[in-house]
């Protein structure tokens, strides 16, 4: 195998790992915070559980977006760079 190609592949793999690892920190913190707050709300006001759960899932899905972007970038690095 060509040496330059091998180095490029290795760099892509490392970059994909870094991208996903660092990119997952933000959404993880954000979603944890959101779920914690929602649980506090449920504990204080159990009758609002249904509303809170729907809004929480929605908020989590929107928060996840940044993580999804980094997932896409790492997939591009892994599979689309040749």
């Amino acid at each position: 195998m060509d040496m330059g190609y091998a180095i490029m592949k290795a760099a892509c793999a490392i970059a994909a790992g870094l991208c996903m690892g660092i990119g997952a920190i933000g959404p993880a913190l954000g979603e944890g915070h959101a779920v914690g707050k929602a649980l506090e709300g449920i504990a204080r006001q159990p009758e609002a559980t249904g509303d809170l759960r729907t809004t929480m899932v929605l908020g989590c899905a929107i928060t996840e977006t940044t993580g999804i972007y980094s997932l896409l970038i790492s997939f591009l690095l892994l599979f689309a760079v040749n």
Binding site: V57, L58, A61, E64, T65, I68, L72, F75
Partner: protein, 297 residues
């Protein structure tokens, strides 16, 4: 073992307007369209005063969507329900059609979700211009202060991209993760089967006996997990012996149960949540461009 991830491939090209490509995405999304159109025609034909089972379900679903539209967009925007419901249904159908195995999810292609997002953006611009006038629409970019204009322009362009990439990334990423898991479990089961086949008959027979025992135990105590373990152990023993005799080789036994659970999360749950998020964002954005009309004096 290598994993390859491809986009939607092109079935054939129509030689019109410089060539229209018919891809897997086109086929899947048109199939979803046809299925839901036929369902709507069949269900909507026999509407009666005293509803049957199908009509009750249909009315329940439509009124749920109507309530959601009213609570998010206000009662004056209730005429948007069919559009929102269409987006929701085609998104769910487009995501779930990938579960058939031979069709590709139409939402796992950026061109499909980007089309929807751009469509929503055009509708928002049209409504803004209709309600505020062209000058009023342009003036909206300079709020709250004139310095914010570049920021507002960027966010106006970024909005459809963000919507499209969110939906596409979730479905496509889930698909890639499921593929990687299936490949990994197939490799693992090939390894284990080789080990069993090379170590002789006894191990395979012991595995089969243990598997049957676990299965019977799980059936008696109604434990699903023990059942699954029993089936896996039985399969490993059986296919190990078969491989030792040279009949079959490398049957992916371990890829049977575990990836399916992951697939349920990534394909089914994520498909529904993303459809919900997409239609909710559509509702919020359209409601922002259609404010409540002033009450007439």
């Amino acid at each position: 073992m290598s994993v390859s991830v491809d986009g939607a491939f092109i079935y054939f090209t129509i030689p019109l307007f410089g060539g229209i490509n018919i891809t897997q995405t086109t086929v899947s999304s048109f199939l979803v369209l046809v299925i839901f159109s036929i369902a709507c025609i069949v269900l909507g034909r026999k509407l009666t005063k005293r509803p049957g089972k199908a009509q009750v379900l249909l009315e329940k679903g439509i009124s749920m969507m109507q309530n959601m539209v009213v609570s998010t967009m206000g009662a004056h925007n209730v005429h948007w329900t069919p559009f929102i419901l269409t987006i929701f249904v085609s998104s769910v159908g487009g995501s779930l059609i990938g579960l058939t195995g031979f069709l590709r999810s139409s939402t796992a292609d950026l061109s499909c979700t980007l089309t929807w997002a751009v469509m929503v953006s055009v509708i928002i611009w049209y409504n803004n211009i209709k309600n505020n006038g062209f000058v009023g629409w342009l003036k909206g970019f300079t709020e709250p202060v004139v310095v914010m204009t570049p920021m507002n322009l960027v966010s106006e362009v970024a909005q459809p991209f963000s919507m499209a990439f969110r939906h596409f990334g979730n479905v496509a990423g889930g698909g890639v993760i499921t593929t990687i898991l299936y490949t990994a479990f197939s490799a693992l089961s090939a390894l284990v089967l080789n080990l069993i086949a090379s170590s002789g008959w006894a191990v395979g027979i012991v595995l089969i006996v243990v598997g049957v025992a676990l299965f019977v135990l799980g059936m008696k105590k109604h434990r699903m997990l023990v059942d699954i373990l029993g089936i896996l152990s039985f399969g490993l023993g059986l296919f190990g012996i078969l491989q030792g005799m040279g009949v079959l080789s490398n049957v992916p036994v371990l890829a049977l149960g575990i990836p399916a659970i992951i697939s349920v999360y990534f394909d089914v749950f994520s498909g529904f949540v993303q459809a919900y998020v997409f239609s909710l964002l559509t509702m919020v954005y359209i409601a922002g461009s259609c404010p409540e009309p002033e009450p007439e004096q």
